[in-house]
């Protein structure tokens, strides 16, 4: 079991006003799974992803990652987990604007014992994997939205994480770029990476093998996708 959450709750307090976002969520995720967490705005899907990705902590409930109780981990250990076991792909890309695509991808590797040459080779490899072999030296402001997202994916992959969290990865992209990104995620899943996709689009969610549908902070449906979308050749959607 990769992830196991039980009765997970999250509430935010602002000016003494308590807002409950997650009301008690439970599910398990196996290694190699491809899951879409789907729901309308305000359903708590991003909050859930942040907790699963150690970007935030639950108010109550249990969260076990690879059998380890995440609630007992110190901040430095959580940082280490984010560095070694998790890759993030955000809707807004969240790249460092002042450094090149190559340096953005190299950044997570700086914690490893690899030499600069090895880090560079590895970053180049993953940028090539996402089709950006001609964009190594470009800073993010010289890349298109789709290219930025591919850099973000390469950065998420470079540490060979156990699991990739993608939060609305196609949200800021045109449909063709979106399909290209989904194709990359499909391929990664086929290679054994666990993918957790957060989206509010039914069509994007249906690339996954399983969909967990949230509404008002609760799981309202958790089902296997029988008729998955497939991104053929990277730019064409087929059923």
């Amino acid at each position: 079991m990769l992830i196991s959450i039980k009765d997970l709750k999250k509430e935010f307090v602002n000016d003494e006003v308590v807002t409950k976002v997650l009301h008690g969520i439970s599910f398990d995720i196996e290694k190699g799974d491809f899951i879409s967490i789907m729901g309308p705005s305000g359903s708590g899907k991003s909050t859930l992803m942040h907790i699963l990705g150690f970007l935030d902590k639950p108010s109550s409930g249990s969260y076990h990652f690879e059998g380890e109780d995440a609630s007992k981990l110190e901040d430095d250990k959580l940082a280490e987990m984010r560095s070694e076991k998790i890759g993030f792909v955000f809707q807004a890309f969240n790249l460092l604007n002042r450094v090149s695509a190559l340096e953005n991808v190299m950044l997570p590797l700086i914690y490893t014992s690899k030499t600069k040459k090895e880090r560079m080779e590895k970053a180049k490899h993953y940028l090539t994997e996402v089709g950006l072999e001609h964009r190594f030296g470009h800073t993010p402001n010289k890349l298109s939205g789709g290219e930025k997202q591919r850099v973000a994916i390469a950065r998420a992959l470079v540490n060979e994480p156990h699991i990739i969290f993608a939060d609305e990865p196609t949200g800021n992209l045109d449909s063709k770029s979106g399909i290209q990104i989904m194709k990359i995620l499909e391929d990664l899943n086929e290679k054994g990476h666990t993918i957790i996709l957060v989206t509010h689009e039914k069509q994007t969610a249906e690339y996954a093998k399983r969909i967990i549908r949230l509404k008002d902070g609760l799981v309202v449906k958790d089902f296997v996708v029988n008729n998955r979308n497939i991104a053929k050749n990277g730019d064409e959607l087929v059923k």
Binding site: H50, G53, L55, D56, D75, D76, A79, E80, M81, R82, S83, E84, I86, F88, F90, N94, L95, L96, R98, V99, E103, L107, P108, I110, Y111, R155, N159
Partner: protein
Amino acid sequence: MNIKTAFFLAITSIKRGNKGTLAMTILIMTLAYVNLVFIASIFGGIVEAINKEAVDNQYSNIVIEPAIDEKYINNKDAIRQIETIPKIIGVSSHYIDNPIVKYDEHKDNKDVKSSRWILKSINPPDEKKVTKIHESIIEGSFLETTDRNQILIGKEIAGGYGGDLDHLSLGVSVGDEIDVFFNNGINRSYIVKGIFSTKSTQADQMLFITKKEMESILKVHNWASEILVKIEDTGNEDVYIEQIRELGLKKEDIKKWSDLMGFTSGASKSFTMISIILGVIGTVVAGVTIFIIIFVSVVNKRKQIGILKAIGMEEDTIILYFVIQALFYGVVGVVLGVSLILFVIRPFFISNPLDFPVGWVSLKVTFNIIKISNLSLIGAALIGGFFPAYRGAKESILKSIWG
């Protein structure tokens, strides 16, 4: 904490940041450093100038005065032997009196100007070895050993040279005749041979006649009211005082020049205090400047901090990233500041010393001033950089990324 990552991020940030901002920041740090060193050095220079004037024109290095119940130092052998002590440059014996000095310009007993002044006798060749009064002659010339009816006077007594005591002065020039009424009742007339002007008001209130002349008035021979001793290594006076005592001057009152500098000692402490206060203010200003620069940087890079934390960077590394940046500004400020002080400002002031009433003042840049200024600025940079970095790094990842 990952020092390598922090260095990489800091260097990237500095290299790819706004060059104008970088230049201004470094300029501010450099000026803050120059300010720290300059203030301490100029006060040091003033104290040094006061001390130099006192040594050169008043006390030399060591002053020997008679025992408390004696009027003169009368151990002739000991006086003669002081000069034989190694590394003693010169010894000058003085007789001292405070006679009434009168000047009657028209010899008609009208508008006679008179006042009491300090009169000392000197043996001119000896005096030239211990003081620099002979280099301060502004009119006429210095005394010769054989001079008998000639007198050398300070500008405060002569008047007309912009002294502080012009209202008490005699208003005489070289060649004029003045009358001196000694305390033992003898009075003699002297022709003003020379007028001297030092930067020491006290020195400029003295008159000098030759030793032979004074001995003929006081009816003594080879005694002294005070003996000035000039040594090679200023600051090492205690060693020589010991040796002088061993010659037999056991009861005499022997003092270092610094013991006689009551005013300077007080002024020196005041200058040090002012220097510390201004230094602390300068350091705080530098620290606050760094704080603001790093604070703005942290605010601008809030999202970047969030992203870095999201991909697994530890908070300590992020803090170090900004502290290194602050340290860079501080170190570059110190390096440029030291260069500016040592290669531009200090040489300039050595060539063009400031004309202070106490003497010619240059910058006294000491290793200690440099060391304290270095530590102050770098410390200010570290503290100024740490707090905004700490605050930025401790913010939650989600708040940092999404605001």
